[in-house]
Symmetry: C2
Subunit: 242 residues, 2 copies
DNA sequence: ATTTACGATATGTATGTACATAATTGTCAA
DNA sequence: TTGACAATTATGTACATACATATCGTAAAT
């Protein structure tokens, strides 16, 4: 550090921002300056090259690692990921919003609503204590009066006590939960299946007809919030663009 | 270095880590100490409370904002998000990797391979010029010798000329493309459908049986790379954990 | 009344520094 | 040859500090 003078302390010029560094690194990957699998210079070197602090390079690289562009290991270094962009983002909309976004009129009806002790299968899936009270709600969602989604939901009442007082006359359980029960973890299981007798009846299709099934469980920290099975007719498309 | 304060300089105890703060904030949300929509104390206050530097609180809050748990605005503050975590990440693995990850043995076979002029339907979908040369490949992927995926793929030869010389004897088109044809845009369309006659035959199911269909198109900037339809038997699960 | 200007404030980011931690490499002995 | 163990090294995280920037409320100007 011969001429420290101008850098001094405090924030320097904006060109050194971690964003600039991120972009420059992406550029080098795009232009094949750094090939997939290749080890790139260390933070110290890059900091020297970009004329910034190591921490700044660290942040740039950390964020690139977060989205899977590079892979980092201590004592080893940072390398360009072999298979970049290997994940898609799927939006998780509220059913109502999803229907309305297609220009259709949304309506839902609650088919059943019971407060019960957690059944064993559910207990194992969500790691609930034996005998925990849960709310079981079954709903049918419509788009322009045609069945859009059959929803079979279990809610952990210990986690969301306020929902016990909800009538679900105007706001669906789905929407109420989205608005009132934040979660930090989510597990989605997408599959195709043959409609069960009940599902077929609800959705107005034949038994065994293909249906699109989303099973979703959510937690806040370690506390289970809800487990829901959402069944759509096979005309349903789940689309994501990246 | 003269003792600056009791903490001194450098890293302090681990209890101050930004992870601890993230967890504590999540706990307060879970325990309704802070409700959705509520404004929480400023970084300065939280830093004082947790006995750490403001930057540490900043990182914790920033990462919570990244996953949509809180929303932050300058001059305003940080509030608990009303509609938290509205997207899931779906991993897009190479078929071989996916099969091997389940402990099964992977194998594939190329069913057909033709260089043709782009058919009209495909042309419209990918925005290709009329008469553009495309490579049409059909593959069957196996897990432990049972059909896992039927792949029907179209590749824009103008975008990926090198693929013309590939025999696909050891490396599948899927894997070759992942390794050699970077893309910047991707569109995924997930759905459930009834197996066509051909699909049923390929996958060893009956015609009309539910199958899980992934249709994916990729581009590099505005240049179409490939359009692929991947059909799985209904035992297939696409799982994502966030 | 509407617009403009400005100050206050909370978050955003950069810097230098210090120590923590994981993983590889080298060394030496069993 | 192998195993144990220390040295090395790149990333990981924390701190104090300083300045940047967006945006709100308020007051002055139109």
């Amino acid at each position: 550090m011969s001429d420290v003078t101008q850098t001094g302390t405090g924030a320097a010029a904006q060109p050194n921002s971690f964003r600039t560094i991120k972009t420059e690194i992406l550029r080098r990957i795009r232009d094949r300056v750094w090939q997939p699998g290749e080890l790139i210079p260390g933070e110290e070197d890059l900091a020297r090259e970009f004329g910034c602090a190591r921490v700044t390079v660290n942040r740039a690289l950390r964020e690139l690692a977060d989205i899977g562009i590079v892979e980092r290991k201590r004592r080893v270094g940072t390398r360009i990921a072999e298979h970049p962009l290997r994940e898609a983002r799927l939006e998780i909309p509220v059913v109502r919003t999803e229907v309305e976004a297609r220009g259709a009129q949304y309506r839902f009806s609650v088919l059943s609503r019971d407060e019960v002790e957690v059944p064993e299968t559910l207990r194992a899936r969500l790691e609930l204590p034996p005998g925990a009270p849960v709310l079981h709600v079954r709903c049918l969602h419509f788009a322009d009066n045609r069945p859009w989604q059959f929803e079979d939901r279990w809610i952990n009442l210990a986690a969301v006590p306020d929902i016990a007082g909800q009538s679900f006359e105007t706001v669906s359980p789905n929407e109420w939960l989205v608005r009132n029960a934040p979660f930090s973890e989510m597990e989605n299981d997408l599959s195709a299946a043959g409609a069960t007798t009940e599902e077929a009846e609800m959705l107005g299709v034949s038994r065994g007809d293909p249906v699109f099934v989303i099973e979703r469980a959510t937690w806040l920290l370690d506390q289970p919030i809800t487990l829901v099975r959402m069944v759509h007719p096979s005309s349903y498309r789940m689309i994501s663009r990246v």
